[in-house]
Symmetry: C2
Subunit: 343 residues, 2 copies
């Protein structure tokens, strides 16, 4: 076995109770255990950066989903990027950078398979880019918009959660593809960012507005209706979008962040509009596009290099701050992709 001496402790951010509605600090516990030893075929990853995403809230519930619930007493599942600390697998040497679906903890035992990938970070501004621009966030925007939405030049694209990690990427790619873009966000500061940082054509602040008011604002901005909705929020914001569909509109259902913390889901009460406009809603999960990640990542990297795509990261530091950092996702407290720096 190679690697540095295992003298440190492994801090782990455990899920100890299933949240009811909004997670509270008591649902989690920061525990310390000895750093594990790798069994044959596996290695120990020192996590440097972890992705914090609204989807993790869903994994905390005990209900059928696309992944099993996080077991109680186990650390919160997260995509991380880090370096091999000790290895009993010939393909992974200490010091190698690795991306994978691990957990909020200093050290993860990794048995390669699934998403585990050795990565080259030498030309990246930060290894965290593998969790934002070149990770699920950038690729969700890329494949969700282009493969499901199939935007055509001149079409109108409505993005909710537009100042968020995925939303800001979607708006910029839509613009690159020649679409008119309308972004919805909460508060004047975010709306300013939509216009100045992400070059949306129109920014709409949803705060304090009824479905009717929001529908009217979208309608005024969209003219002949929206051809594509990239939906990250759900609830009344989705309803306001559905009230403004153009014929044959496509709704990419990527997230429903407004509902993750509520037991009583709001849903969409105006599905009739789908019939009226012969429109469609498509549930989207980035994991279906794993075989095409290299292709998407290369295009995103090229756009960043050309100065056509801006990626913002919101870095919070320390496993001890995992809870407040995670909660900022729901209060709108982050600008850009939320990343927890662990080491």
């Amino acid at each position: 076995m190679e690697g540095s001496p295992l003298s440190e402790m492994n801090r782990r951010f455990l899920l100890v109770r299933r949240p009811r509605g909004e997670p509270v600090p008591e649902d989690f516990r920061l525990a310390s255990t000895p750093v594990p030893q790798p069994a044959p075929g596996s290695f120990i990853l020192r996590n440097h950066f972890a992705s914090l995403d609204p989807a993790q809230r869903g994994w905390m519930d005990d209900r059928p989903s696309y992944m099993p619930p996080i077991p109680l007493g186990q650390p919160v599942r997260a995509t991380t990027v880090g370096r091999v600390h000790a290895s009993a697998n010939p393909d992974f040497a200490p010091g190698d950078w690795v991306l994978g679906l691990n957990a909020l903890e200093d050290y993860s035992i990794v048995t390669p398979g699934g998403f585990t990938t050795k990565v080259d970070v030498s030309r990246l501004p930060s290894p965290s880019y593998l969790l934002s621009a070149l990770g699920a966030v950038g690729l969700t925007g890329y494949f969700g918009l282009l493969e499901v939405g199939r935007p055509q030049p001149g079409e109108t694209v409505l993005v909710s959660g537009a100042a968020g990690a995925v939303g800001s990427v979607v708006g910029q790619i839509a613009r690159i593809k020649g679409c008119r873009t309308i972004g919805i966000a909460g508060g004047a500061a975010k709306c300013q960012r939509l216009l100045h940082d992400y070059h949306f054509d129109v920014a709409i602040d949803y705060r304090g507005k009824s479905v009717k008011q929001l529908s009217a604002e979208i309608g005024a901005a969209a003219g002949g209706g929206v051809d594509i909705i990239f939906e990250n929020v759900g609830g009344e914001i989705l309803e306001a979008g559905l009230n403004n569909l153009a014929p044959r509109a496509r709704v990419i259902l990527c997230g429903l962040i407004s509902e993750y913390n509520s037991d009583e889901k709001h849903g969409a009460r105006n599905l009739w509009q789908l019939i009226v406009k012969r429109a469609s809603i498509h549930g989207f999960l980035i994991m279906d596009y794993v075989p095409r990640f290299a292709e998407g990542g290369a295009q995103i990297a090229a756009w960043i290099g050309e100065g056509r795509l801006r990626i913002d990261e919101h870095i919070e530091r320390g496993l001890e701050n995992a809870y407040p950092a995670f909660m900022k996702l729901f209060s709108g407290g982050n600008i850009g992709k939320m990343v927890l720096q662990i080491a």
Copy 2:
């Protein structure tokens, strides 16, 4: 000008007030006016049969839809089949049978265009078949299921409103295509019809059941989930279906009859399932398939001829019964396609 003397009166079933929720008799009035004379280029159609459909409820509302609202003081819009009574159009001679989008009245002024089509009724059991098997009902089932749903042999198809005009056709076509079929209907008698008359593999009675109970019953019947939902009802029945989606499931959203008479729409509160299963919902309107009606009608007629497709019609008689006949659509009082015989 040709035609028989215009001695009769024209009874017309007028919309005089927009219904609030469930239509009441006072929303309508049966008026009598002289039978009109055709202007040059138009003709007068003696309506024999009129289609009564849930969609007409939507046309009574003053809100944006795929057709303008029925103007107050005008007769309720309806697809009818009848014979030319008097003509000032060289292409339509008295006695010709004609299908078109007209109204609930004895005589309609028709200016050809749109859906107006001269039809051959000589080989049909009844001209009303042009409103059921070979009309929007049969074609909705045919194109909705086959073009949007794209059923594959061995897939499971869930149909709501399965004993209704469209639902019963969908179930039978799904079976012809080698699918397993689950039908949802209200009451034991209808469920018996699903099994015996329309050969569904499983019939589920939704009455008196919670979303949870209904979801469990669908799940038990579907095994690995439903690949296709043909949705005619909406609300809690749609939710129960969405709780049982197979990966990549397709939902054909054809109707939402449970919501047409309610101001507060229920909608679907579990859209999250679309993401989990990467499923899609597609709004469907038969009018998009008008250019392919002949193709669909020929296939349906062939299946009827081979004894593989059973079509039931529920005939009510007399314009004076238009209101109670229409309301049976919402109380589940009809078996098969509801047709009003006018002459």
